[in-house]
């Protein structure tokens, strides 16, 4: 019984002496979800399934072409 009590006390002391990691350059706090995971709402670009990474990339590229490149739209 005494041995168990001592080992628990030593373990508690060791835990108290432990340090939290303080790595330089490591960001703590909330982690952002990737954009292709979507918002879970209906108001998204038509035809794209939320969570589909390849589809998200191709939708953005297509949107760039038909929305921003007037040479490809006009000619």
């Amino acid at each position: 019984m005494k041995h168990i009590f001592c080992s628990v006390a030593l373990l508690a002391l060791l835990c108290a002496c432990g340090e939290k990691p303080q790595l330089l350059g490591e960001r703590t706090g909330k982690q952002d979800a990737p954009s292709y995971s979507g918002t879970g709402k209906a108001f998204v670009d038509g035809g794209w399934t939320q969570g589909d990474k390849a589809g998200w990339e191709s939708h953005l590229k297509a949107r760039d072409q038909y929305g921003q490149n007037d040479y490809s739209r006009m000619n």
């Binding site: 490591e26 995971s37 918002t39 998200w56 949107r63 760039d64 072409q65 921003q68 490149n69 040479y71």
Partner: protein, 210 residues
């Protein structure tokens, strides 16, 4: 996918401030904070040039380097974002940024210098995508809706282009080649290749045929 980038075509920008208004409206940016603004060189002089400026989402962002609390992070697409719950509003990022992108609201919990606010490339922040908390802190998350930044999509002359860096570079390169001028500027060769029409010493395809 390459990194997300903005390019503003100074030959097309007409200083309408549509991008500024669209940004403020989309994200309900508070009074006194402009995530995007139009800068005009030689204002009033014939030949004046304007460009729309916001956070350029630098590849090696100085704001990230100087932040004492590491509130910045970069997404897989190269968009530089920050966590307002970590930001202490010290203002170091605004001194480091060459574009004056970080903005500080004058009203709020922190008094005269609130937590930093800047262009998010319409990608929100670390809150849950599309949530009310994300909207209130960072504005709409259009990227998570499969859309591009509102400033570029609303630009009437398509001077401001945003999106995948490769696509944006292709669109801009094509414009310059079609226009027949612009490729002679400093840095064009390193950005788009040195053997292109308009570059000094390069013969245009039409001239070489005759």
């Amino acid at each position: 996918m390459a990194r997300m980038k903005f390019v503003c075509d100074s030959e097309r920008c007409i200083e309408c401030n549509g991008c500024v208004t669209a940004c403020k409206n989309e994200h309900e940016v508070p009074w006194g904070v402009n995530r995007r603004r139009v800068v005009t060189l030689n204002d009033g002089v014939p030949g004046e040039k304007s460009i729309s400026v916001a956070c350029m989402h630098c590849s090696d962002a100085p704001c990230m380097a100087v932040c004492p609390v590491n509130c910045f992070y970069k997404t897989d697409e190269g968009v530089v974002l920050h966590d307002k719950d970590v930001c202490i509003g010290c203002g170091y990022c605004s001194y480091a940024c060459p574009f004056g992108a970080p903005q500080f609201p004058s009203q709020g919990t922190f008094g005269v210098r609130g937590k930093m606010d800047k262009c998010t490339f319409c990608a929100g922040g670390p809150e849950v995508n599309g949530s009310q908390a994300e909207f209130e802190k960072y504005g709409r998350n259009r990227l998570a809706e499969g859309k591009l930044p509102i400033c570029a999509e609303m630009c009437s002359t398509k001077a401001l282009i945003a999106g995948d860096g490769d696509v944006v570079a292709d669109i801009f390169r094509n414009r310059v080649v079609k226009r027949g001028k612009g490729a002679e500027v400093w840095g064009w060769g390193s950005a788009y290749g040195s053997k292109q029409a308009g570059q000094p010493g390069v013969v245009a395809p039409e001239e070489s045929k005759s």
